[in-house]
Amino acid sequence: MATKISRRKLANWSAKRLASGDPAKNVMHELGAYLIDTRRTHEQSLIIRDIEIALLSEGSVLVNAVAARPLSDEAKSDIEAFVKSEYGSNASVIIHETIDESVIGGVKLETPDKQIDATVRNKLEKLMA
């Protein structure tokens, strides 16, 4: 009986393929076929997270920036500089913006393995606690 391949190994394989320039569509197609074959499709969202983490070691940082209003170019370049200071100056930073008015102000940055919550809502919650 074939042993189950861990999510981490699958993610590392996918990240390496993506970093070497293989088209994302092809890599995901193969991965999807494997998940269907091994009846592990329920793990797809976790594998995507694992691939994001694995991509960190390949030098790509996916950042989700949550803010109440669209970010200015200046804010985006500040975020990029901050992320580079944490993950190394050679990292390629890809910022994905999410608008959420409930954060009131400030910004929350989520990288695959870390986060920083500098939103007004978080500060208010801490004050209430």
Binding site: K114, Q115, I116, K126, L127, A129
Partner: protein, 511 residues
């Protein structure tokens, strides 16, 4: 007036906001993938360490957990609060530290939970120090052999199975045999004899009504000022029951490491093992004997190894442990009892039969033992209790023959008579621990045969008369004897006094 108040408030608020403004930087974060039965499975947090604290962001605030299963794809974490607040998708952050509890003298007189939060309705506990719940035990060179006595005030223990400071002595027996009573009397004796030993009572899954009664009693006896109670009830999550003894030990270690002496009472480790079994099975660790996980021995050995007598270089402090184990139908060969018996430096075995016969404390002379306490026994008690254990064991064996009513030779009969009197003498009501002089005088009187003509039913009365007379007429000598440094023999000054007073006391009760 109002202006000043507003200004102060505004200043406070500004300070609070300034404190929160501090940028803490990026923190490791993961996400809860599933949760249930007090265990959360977390994705991410590749840098988490064993036993590290996790903070789970829920809609009702932050819930703490600690990581116990570190696997390739996920982490199994045990939740320290209410698991119904946690749901899949919640963000989990690494706090970057292992579990810590407040330690220090500020805790004395308080009832706390295993995280150091007050349960007694008193003010918040602010200590200068916090220590990790799990710490490595002191090494070989940091220790010293056990040599100072820790008097329990219970005659049969102090005379036959003496306990020394830094020793681990197991109290084992079935339910309702007086295990906790022995532990409580020991705590009370520390206050009565002003030994300066701090008591730490760890209730593991005990009924909270029982803990409340205990605290009330300790207050009445004036013991609470030198006691810390770490309480967990049956409705608490298994994670808290698991943590309780380690947290209590961390509090005790503060006194040990600061040249003090502390006494730990773990009531009881059977429930602790059961709580750990529950956690382990939910964390999907493979079950072994009696469904306990493979590391259940290590669970208790690493806990009890922290009790120690420290060397002179480390300040001479000590941490003594009295773990309690509940057996089922007197079976001491079950898994957890054999484990803890092998870890500890001896055991006090409580027997249901003796308890039901009215011999209380129901300590079995044959099955109990103290492996290191002999060298810690006070000279006074040691000098009178030489053959006590052997005599009592032989008597209990002979007594079973005597039941048949067959003719006995004179020697056997006298052995049985003496045994009956000794057994009667060693009966001791709860909450009445005896001092060194009371113990030495009583045992000396019986072993010298002063009470041989006193009827068995009146032995306790004769003992009371002896002690009353001695205290009334020779208070100074008895106070000196209570220091324990003096041997009691037929030709010693104190021995002569006891012999004289004993003969006088016996006269009134001969029959």
């Amino acid at each position: 007036m109002a202006d000043i108040a507003v200004q102060e408030l505004s200043k406070e608020l500004k300070n609070a906001i300034a404190g929160l403004e501090q940028n803490e930087g990026l923190k490791d974060a993961g996400v809860v993938i599933r949760v249930g039965d007090g265990v959360a499975w977390v994705h991410g947090l590749a840098n988490a360490g064993y036993s590290e604290v996790l903070e789970i962001d829920t809609s009702e605030g932050v819930v703490e957990a600690f990581a116990l299963n570190l696997m390739e794809d996920e982490i199994g974490a045990v939740i320290l609060g209410n698991d119904s607040q946690v749901s899949a998708g919640n963000t989990v952050r690494l706090r970057g530290q292992v579990l810590e509890v407040p330690v220090g003298e500020e805790l004395l007189g308080r009832v706390v939970d295993p995280l150091g939060r007050p349960l007694d309705g008193g003010p918040a506990i602010k200590t200068k120090l916090r220590n990790p719940v799990e710490r490595e035990a002191i090494g070989v060179m940091g220790r010293k052999s056990v040599h100072e006595p820790l008097m329990t005030g219970i005659m049969s223990i102090d005379a036959m199975f003496p306990i020394g400071r830094g020793q681990r002595e197991l109290i084992i027996g079935d339910r309702q045999t007086g295990k906790t009573a022995v532990a409580i009397d020991t705590m009370i004796n520390q206050a009565r004899q002003k030994t300066g030993v701090v008591n730490i009572y760890v209730a593991i899954g005990q009924k909270l009504s029982k803990v409340a009664r205990l605290v009330e009693r300790l207050k009445q006896e004036g013991v609470m000022e030198q006691t810390i109670v770490v309480a967990t009830g049956p409705s608490d999550p298994a994670s808290l029951l698991y943590l309780a003894p380690y947290a209590g030990t961390a509090m005790g270690e503060y006194f040990r490491d600061n040249k003090g002496h502390a006494l730990m009472i773990y009531d009881d480790l059977s429930k602790h093992a059961v709580a750990y079994r529950q956690m382990s099975l939910l964390l999907r660790r493979p079950p072994g004997r009696e469904a306990f996980p493979g590391d259940v021995f290590y669970l208790h050995s690493r806990l009890l190894e922290r009790s120690a007598k420290l060397s002179d270089d480390l300040g001479n402090g000590s941490l003594t442990a009295l773990p309690i184990i509940e057996t089922q139908a007197g079976d001491i060969s079950a898994y957890i009892p054999t484990n803890v018996i092998s870890i500890t430096d001896g055991q006090i075995f409580m027997e249901t039969d003796l308890f039901n016969q009215g011999i209380r404390p129901a300590i079995s002379a044959g099955l109990s033992v103290s492996r290191v306490g002999g060298s810690a026994q006070t000279k006074a008690v040691k000098s009178v209790s030489g053959n006590l254990k052997l005599g009592l064991s032989q008597f209990r064996e002979l007594a079973s023959f005597a039941q048949f009513g067959s003719d006995l030779d004179a020697e056997t009969k006298s052995q049985i008579d003496r045994g009956q009197r000794l057994t009667e003498l060693l009966k001791q009501p709860q909450y009445e621990p005896a001092g060194i002089w009371e113990q030495s005088a009583s045992i000396f009187a019986v072993s010298q045969g002063l009470f041989d003509n006193v009827t068995v039913a009146k032995i306790k009365d004769a003992q009371t008369a002896l002690l009353t007379n001695l205290w009334k007429d020779h208070k100074k000598e008895m106070q000196e004897l209570n220091k324990g440094g003096e041997k009691v023999a037929a030709d010693s000054p104190s021995g002569k006094l006891i012999l004289k007073a004993g003969k006088a006391a016996a006269k009134g009760f001969e029959g």
